[in-house]
Structures are given as structure tokens and as C-alpha cells.
Amino acid sequence: MSTLTLLKVERIKLFSTRSPWWCMIVAVAITIGFTALLSAALRGDDLLFYRPAATQFAYNFGLLIMMVMAVLAVTTEYRFGTIRASFLAVPTRTSLLLAKTVVVALLAGVVGELAAIGCWLIARAIRPDSPLSLQTAADYRVVFGVGLVYLISAIIAVAVGLMIRHSAGAISALLAWSLVVENLIQIIPNVGEDIQKWLPFVVGNNFLYSGQSFFASGETGTLDDMPFGPWGSLIYFAVVALALLAIGLGLAKHRDA
């Protein structure tokens, strides 16, 4: 079975139910909506320092929704037994699941890109006088890079879905990790922040926000002394995602379906 065939199969599967459409629409809408609120709420000096990086603040909202969608793309197949029907049709499990990962990740990437551009545009529409035009490479990266972060995050979500196989368990694990563990670990005295710098979503965020500052306070949106620069961070993030995917694929291949 050719790669194109498998991609087509997974595309049909994904789009022949309604929930992915809802996830995509909600992800884009909520992210843009939040940015619109933020833009409207800014006052005083902050408006003078309202730069493109700050328009992407809300990318995490859409990201969480797309990660949930990516998890569900895997776990609902286990839930309804369609994974078995799939493995009967395509016994080479790894290639089929890779095709699924590609379709889901690309979709998440597109959604991330749409959300990011939408956020930037709406901010400009609401605050035409703020310095929101794209000037530096960092400005371009923080807007157009969001799709890449969505794409890689979706790979992680698929991997977690393959490992855990149950919707509730996989979603809880993923949200607990990305929302709780990666943020709260800094509470641990001495080593907390050193560990935090190496956690995947923190590093992925650094790809977008490295070297940025915005608002009057000079906020940066990332930690000081991160181990990698922006592109190094992206590579590290991608490597972690692919490693998790390799584990998920290995499990799916060796476990009983």
C-alpha cells in the first residue's frame, strides 16, 4: 500500500466524522477571540509596546484543543474497535499509524497557522496604532512559527494516545503534563527551574518567544538562560516528539490490537 493511499485513508477517516471540524473551528475561534479581548483591554503605555509577539499569547488555548483532537483521533479508534478494522485492512501497523500522525499533525499545523495569522490580523485591526507590523525575523517567527508548534505538539498527543489508548487517561495525562507539571515544577527549590528549561513544551515555547519583549514592563514570555536558541529549541522539541512517537508506534506494533 502506497504512502499516498494510507494518507488518503486516514484523511477519509478523520473527516468523515464531525468532531475534528468542531475542534478546528473552536481552536481557531477561541484563540482569536482571546487575542481580540486582550487587544481591546490594553491601556496606556502597554499600547506603545504592543508588538507581534504579544498577539500570540493565546496560542496555548487552541493548542490544547488540537492536542485533544489528536489524542481522540487515536483513542476513539481503540474505543470503537475501528483500530482493529484498520489493522485488518492494513496489517503494516507502523506505516498506517505514521500516516495518521502525518494527517493529524498537518491539520494541527494548518489550524495553528490560521489561528496565529488571525490573531495578528485582529490585533492590528483593533490597535492600528500599536507597533504590530512584522519587522524582525523574530516577529515573523513568533507569528508564522505557531503552526510548527501545533504540528509538533500534535505528534506528542498522538504518541500519548498510542501509549495510553483510553481517551480520558490520555487527555488527562497530556493536560496534567503540559499545564501542571511544566508550570509548577519551578516550585521545587534549587533544581526546579533547571529542570523546567528542558521540558518539551517550555522549550517549544522558547522557539516562539526567544529574544522577544513586549508591553511596557519588558516581559519576555520565556525563561532566562534557556539551553537552546530558537531553532535549537524547535529541533529539541521535535526530537522529543519523535522519540515519544517511536515509543507509541513500538507499543502499538507489539501489543495485541
Binding site: M1, T5, L6, K8, V9, I12, K13, S16, T17, R18, S19, T76, F80, G81, T82, R84, A85, S86, F87, L88, A89, V90, P91, T92, H254, D256, A257
Partner: protein, 343 residues
């Protein structure tokens, strides 16, 4: 043709399938019979490469399932009618299956027509009745026009009409020369559906044989015989080495004799040589389900009472009885189960 050799599956401490070997021939419906929990579904999942055997090997036309190119063109399976996304339409479900194996999209309409789901094709599968789900499952199995078909308890939960439809469908598929392997825990159903049987209990092979032979062997052959001189008839038969019981008159039937372990031929011949007149000479079958329980070793009491009549009792175990038609009567005693003994 399906060939299983030494197939074994262990889930933790449960030995679900234990050293199972059998062949399934093309052109016939082969029943896969065993009580609940005997390991039928597990075996089918191993045949289809979904579960990994702990030991042993199973091949379809000489190949492992995973090595089949476009497997839906070789093997069609319906293990569970619910393996469909409830929010996907029947057509979309068949569509991704067809695309995956390079089947033309017009084939989707053909199989929908074949199972009578044309009108429901665009409805979501989650709203289907069990019978409709089953039909959709069969449509999926037939999509690639495969030579080998597997069905796991296809009539479970269906109404009589649905059962009849599936039964006739299986017969048609086998008549077209396909290999049809269908599981059930009901011997009475298999007696009507299958020509051959692979019988298992607690994961082990009990018999591989034709259905008629299995039923004869399992239910024991009893002959009812009646004539004007019952007492003399009885003497003649006992002298001929047969075990004879009296069957006293009932409201419906006059008094007769019941002969165990003999055919009507033997009884008729003995009576004829003695010059005795016979009014009735009929072969009788025990209840199929009772026979089945007896063979699968569940009903211990019935077994100890009834087993001596079984031809071949005590033949050394046929646990690997792979020759078709060879293993009848290797029954429960030979395999050695008693209630409470763990496999």
C-alpha cells in the same frame, strides 16, 4: 484454506488457547464450535494477526496474515459488528476500507446492495440496529471479494429472519468455493450451518470432523425397535452382544426396546436372522446441546453416565488431531478435564 499449528495464547495466567491445530477447507462452511470462553474469538484474532500467538503459527493459503498484500482481497472478517465509528456513515466506513486496499469505489455500492443496505448507506452507523450493523460488517468483509471468510458468532442476538439470512448467505459463499469459517457456541445452529466442525473447549481441540459424524458420535447411536414379540427380540439382541433397555409404553407410544451403541442395520439383521417381525426400527439422536456439553466436558455427571456409549472413548488424546475427520470421540475423557481442573 486456513491452517493452524500448535496455536497457543496466554493472557497473564489465563491460557485462552492451548496448542490448537486444525485445517479449514475451501468450498465448505466450517463451524468453529465451543462453549463461552473456549477461545474462539482469541483464535480468530490470531488468525487475523490482531493478537500475537504466544506459540504456534497460523496461515491463510500458506501465508501469515501480515504478509498478505491487500489483505481484504484475500480475507474478509466480521469479528464484531460494532467495529465501526458510530458517527460515520455506512458508506464512509466502506469507503476508507475500499481505498486502503485499492478497491474500486463502485464495489461499495455492490456490497451495500448485496446485504440490502443501499437505502441506509448514508445514515450514521451508530443508529443501526444489530441486524443492520451485522449486515454492514458483512458488507465490509465482502468488499474485497475474498476467498477466505471468518465470522465470529454472526447470528448472536439476531431474530429468526436475520439468522436464516446469514445462514443462507454462508452456504452461498461456500458454494462459490470460498473458505468459510464461522464460530458459534450453539451446536444446534452449527448443525444447520456448517458441513465441517472444529470443536474446542477450554482452548484445546476436541474434535475436527464433519458435522454429521460429530453429532452421531457425540449423541451416541441409539436405536428404537418394536415388534409383537418384545421378550424374544430382547433375548436375541442381548445374545448378539448389544445393550438393550426397555422403553415402557407411554401415552403416545407403545412399549419398545432401546438399543445402545448399534446401528439400525445391525439390529435389523439380528432380528431378521431370528425370524422376528418388526413394526418399528428407528435411529434416535440425543439432544444436540446435551451431546455438545458432554463432548466439551462441562456436564460432568452426564458425561460419566453417557460416555461408555461413545465409540472411541479412551482413545489417546487427539490434542493435535489435524487430520480432517479423524478426531471424533477423543472426547472429554481423553482430554482429561473434570470440573474445577484448571487448564
Amino acid at each position: 484454506m486456513i491452517q493452524a499449528r500448535g496455536l497457543t495464547k496466554r493472557y497473564g495466567r489465563t491460557l485462552a488457547v492451548n496448542d490448537l491445530s486444525f485445517d479449514v477447507q475451501p468450498g465448505r462452511v466450517t463451524g468453529f464450535l465451543g462453549p463461552n470462553g473456549a477461545g474462539k474469538s482469541t483464535t480468530m484474532r490470531m488468525i487475523l494477526g490482531l493478537d500475537r500467538p504466544t506459540a504456534g503459527d497460523v496461515r491463510i493459503d500458506g501465508k501469515r496474515y501480515a504478509d498478505l498484500k491487500d489483505p481484504l482481497r484475500h480475507v474478509g472478517a466480521l469479528l464484531d459488528a460494532k467495529w465501526v465509528h458510530p458517527n460515520r456513515s455506512a458508506r464512509s466506513h466502506l469507503r476508507w476500507l475500499a481505498v486502503s486496499n485499492g478497491l474500486p469505489e463502485k464495489r461499495i455500492d455492490e456490497v451495500l446492495e448485496l446485504v440490502g443496505l443501499t437505502k441506509e448507506a448514508d445514515r450514521r452507523a451508530g443508529g443501526f440496529s444489530l441486524g443492520m450493523s451485522q449486515r454492514l460488517g458483512i458488507a465490509g468483509a465482502l468488499l474485497g471479494d475474498p476467498g477466505v471468510l471468518l465470522f465470529d458468532e454472526p447470528v448472536n442476538g439476531l431474530d429468526p429472519e436475520g439468522i436464516l439470512w446469514i445462514r443462507q448467505f454462508m452456504h452461498r459463499l461456500a458454494a462459490q468455493g470460498r473458505t468459510v469459517f464461522v464460530s458459534s457456541h450453539l451446536l444446534s445452529e452449527m448443525a444447520l450451518t456448517a458441513q465441517d466442525l472444529v470443536v474446542i473447549g477450554r482452548g484445546r481441540l476436541i474434535a475436527q470432523t464433519s458435522t454429521t459424524e460429530f453429532i452421531e458420535a457425540a449423541s451416541g447411536s441409539t436405536v428404537r425397535v418394536r415388534g409383537p414379540e418384545l421378550a424374544r427380540l430382547r433375548e436375541v439382541l442381548v445374545a448378539g452382544g448389544l445393550r438393550v433397555e426397555d422403553a415402557p409404553a407411554t401415552e403416545n407410544e407403545p412399549a419398545a426396546l432401546v438399543v445402545h451403541g448399534a446401528s439400525t442395520d445391525t439390529v435389523g439383521e439380528l432380528a431378521g436372522r431370528a425370524g422376528l417381525i418388526l413394526y418399528e426400527l428407528t435411529a434416535q439422536r440425543g439432544s444436540l446441546e446435551q451431546a455438545f456439553l458432554q463432548m466439551t466436558g462441562h456436564d460432568v455427571e452426564y458425561r460419566s453416565a453417557g460416555l461408555p456409549d461413545l465409540p472411541g472413548t479412551g482413545v489417546p488424546g487427539q490434542s493435535s488431531g489435524t487430520a480432517p475427520g479423524a478426531a471424533v470421540g477423543a472426547g472429554a475423557a481423553a482430554v482429561g478435564w473434570t470440573k474445577g481442573e484448571s487448564a
